[in-house]
Symmetry: C2
Subunit: 305 residues, 2 copies
């Protein structure tokens, strides 16, 4: 087995800035990734919070090229390369591997429902075989509230056993701690790295033997989340966790992606950041005002944007 | 308003044949579309039953080119051109319009859940604006059991009113007759054409003022379904409907897409047709035997393949 990758313990599914014509804005995205790097946070670009599935393959390939050319540290990059089709997922995954990304985060095919573990295994296996590159470090992305396709422990185990040098871990956004804990107990001893899908579970995950978290709110609260990941064995860890939870629960009162974009726009003095792609909708002025008041109430702001 | 299109009353979401390497098989698909045409059935290629979302955009564009070059009647074609991203849906839709297809069938973006009507309206509106071609005849595809995104009557009404020359109708695979009937009552008087998502509802739909059906089982029972659509005002229509239902319910005892492919393979003496793409799985030998016995029991076979 290869040594586990040097990916950071906290990654952000980086928000994607869009231009007025709906095209992704590579320059703003590069700047955001650079800022996250200085905060000690890796970049799981093309995630759910990146509106990745609201972009075409062509748009994602073009962004990936731009990021690679900009000299971002590929050891901090874990692009989402999943798609409903093996062909599309393979092409994106191959591009990420060629760009030197430390990992890729792969959704299950999410169109058909009630599919079998056998069919899901065949999907991931064929993507791996099509890519055919032993540099590939794949992380499986479990987010049943959105995909409606839960990844069973049996499936994870089978994939890990079949591809021990390739299937390196997962992001678990199930929100179901009993499941997360069961996966960590069963697979962490083999080197399988479990990232929680929210920093709400960060301390629990690290204590249980997980790897860290890949969390939406690492877009707006990166340094504090990275600090807890670095100092979780210290006595103030529960206090840090409570502070993180306060920020997250404030954002969670609003549609999360538009709310985080509004916060980046506000604290970065860049209204362009408010834009989202349909079917998502930007916050309306009343919602924005409510969000900013709520953030003021808890003394929250984003520094250094 | 333009006259309504000359699309047939029955269309089939054409099964897609795949080669051993997972690539779509254009020659077999062309032959299948030609056979469906001789049965009086249009071709809603790239539908749910076509495993369209298991193909990449590039694969679909290449198939569309091959079909157009093969001289199929584009007046009988209604490709599925929906995608989670506006960019991808626009590119596919534009290609279908340029190929002269009589209509396109467009899924809502199906990754995010619990999205607003406002966001869905913006999605469809932006696809229409991006295509920017007044030959576009769009049919909305409602299939909440799969997408988990129901299209409300309010949304359909708003789209029809905003784009009366473009938003021409829908396919309703909700399986909820009360909803289908409410849409027909509200919108059929404006020329909006409602196709039921299954021939189970064909007679009811035509009696209520709907357009016909776009149904999975039109892949394996096309002539009989087309005959009911042509003769639904005759006294034997309920008997015809019952016969159609018997065939459908036999297939419905198995995973539908693999079962229909097994039937095409068996009656067409072409085992290549059995192949499906993951996450779907082909029937196992016991399932195939069970299907063929069940079909024999009801005296069903496919003629002329």
């Amino acid at each position: 087995m290869k040594p586990s990758s040097a990916l950071p313990k906290v990654l952000s599914p980086v928000l994607t800035p869009f231009k007025a014509n709906g095209q992704p804005d590579a320059q703003r995205l590069i700047k955001q990734c650079q800022w996250l790097t200085t905060c000690g946070v890796g970049q799981a670009i093309f995630g759910t919070n990146s509106e990745a599935n609201s972009m075409s393959s062509a748009q994602k390939m073009s962004l990936l090229d731009a990021l690679a050319s900009a000299g971002l540290n590929p050891g901090f990059l874990m692009p989402g390369t999943g798609a409903c089709s093996i062909d599309e997922a393979s092409v994106l995954t191959q591009a990420a591997v060629k760009a030197g990304c430390a990992g890729v985060l792969v959704l299950p095919p999410f169109y058909y429902k009630d599919v079998s573990d056998e069919g899901l295994f065949a999907f991931f296996a064929q993507v791996i075989e099509h890519v055919g590159d032993d540099r590939l470090q794949m992380y499986l992305y479990n987010i049943p509230p959105v995909t409606k396709i839960p990844l069973s422990l049996a499936l994870l185990t089978r994939l890990r056993q079949a591809y021990p040098n390739t299937v390196m871990g997962m992001k678990d956004s199930s929100g179901d701690w009993a499941y997360t804990e069961a996966v960590i107990q069963a697979l962490a001893p083999t080197g399988f790295q479990v990232y929680a899908g929210s920093e709400t579970f960060l301390l629990q995950t690290l204590r249980a033997g997980g790897a860290g978290c890949i969390s939406a709110t690492a877009n707006i609260n990166p340094s504090a989340i990275a600090r807890l990941a670095a100092t979780w064995q210290q006595s103030d860890a529960p206090t840090q966790q409570a502070a993180l939870d306060r920020v997250r629960s404030t954002f969670a009162k609003f549609p999360m992606i538009p709310a985080m974009k509004s916060a980046v726009a506000h604290f970065g003095h860049d209204p362009e950041w408010q834009r989202v792609l349909p079917p998502l909708m930007a916050l309306n002025p009343a919602q924005t005002e409510g969000l900013l008041l709520a953030l003021e109430d808890i003394g929250f702001s984003i520094q250094g944007l």
